[in-house]
Symmetry: C3
Subunit: 139 residues, 3 copies
Amino acid sequence: MHYRAVESTGEYLARLETGADWRAEIEDLAREVDAEAGWFNAMGAVQDAEIWFYDQDDTEYRSVTFDEPLEVAACVGNVARLDDDVFAHTHAVFSRESGQALAGHLDSATVFAGEVYLRTFAEPLVREHDAATDLDLWL
Amino acid sequence: MHYRAVESTGEYLARLETGADWRAEIEDLAREVDAEAGWFNAMGAVQDAEIWFYDQDDTEYRSVTFDEPLEVAACVGNVARLDDDVFAHTHAVFSRESGQALAGHLDSATVFAGEVYLRTFAEPLVREHDAATDLDLWL
Amino acid sequence: MHYRAVESTGEYLARLETGADWRAEIEDLAREVDAEAGWFNAMGAVQDAEIWFYDQDDTEYRSVTFDEPLEVAACVGNVARLDDDVFAHTHAVFSRESGQALAGHLDSATVFAGEVYLRTFAEPLVREHDAATDLDLWL
């Protein structure tokens, strides 16, 4: 296990714009507050969602698109630098009217309403290629 | 995207009372510590749950009730003022014995056991009607 | 509702080791930073998972094992003392390639990749037997 003590530089509450992209909104927030590292929690609802599942054998992401309104029951993620840009690594749990839950790595989703808590850190996080997983990981 | 830097006024750990209502307990906690704004995370188990799904076309909530014991695998929410009272906007992910997950906007649920982390903020959050979504949103 | 104001002693970001046990890694982190109380959020992917569901009538845990790669869409938990050792009470929501969500109390899971935010507190949390639920609870 690799770890680092971090110091908080700020905390923010945000409301995402209806019609915008969920993840892009969080990355815009990170850019606006000059964050190169952060952790966030979010909730709300989306009009559609594209989620990814990582195939650990083929080391490739598989995509599933849900073209329907969904609640965002939980959303957890972090902000880091990836290839000289800000990347919000975002996982989410969605739900349908029946209560059925769907989940995965959130690539994109159209915001209906979104409430976010972001905590930023002084120490930059940088994603670099990891041989064991073929993923871009920090620390 | 609308956002605000916030300053923390306190942080709290709470254990919810067996038999009480999950959301009411969190609202009571917010009242006891005089919080008009906060963000929380929680986990535990409930004896039953009523969850809501927002119909984005009809702009009305649909309700589903699960009259059975469920784990609370994740719970995310925030505290704000709504119509001169404290409102804990609460989303949750539940699970059955099979591991099947259910999720949504938590309206009410009977606590079996509940563990909560609440962080409060100096700047009050106030929910007001938003025309685009027909929801009461802050910021 | 029982609650306590807490003071933060530190915050940490961690990357869990591929092949290690998800919960043991979090407990190791807590030991390394001398934490007797903490709250965490995590996300990532696992190679398999054993999750538990608490039978509230029989007051016994039921176990389900998923021997397949899963995304960790959300993970919430806290660190406390239990029988003179550190215990990370860990709940998680997983997902399959189809987007299907699974969830529960995480007993063990083999890390593929894991990203964790841990916040530690000055006031120790100690789990003790609770008669109403037959669980070990703090506060």
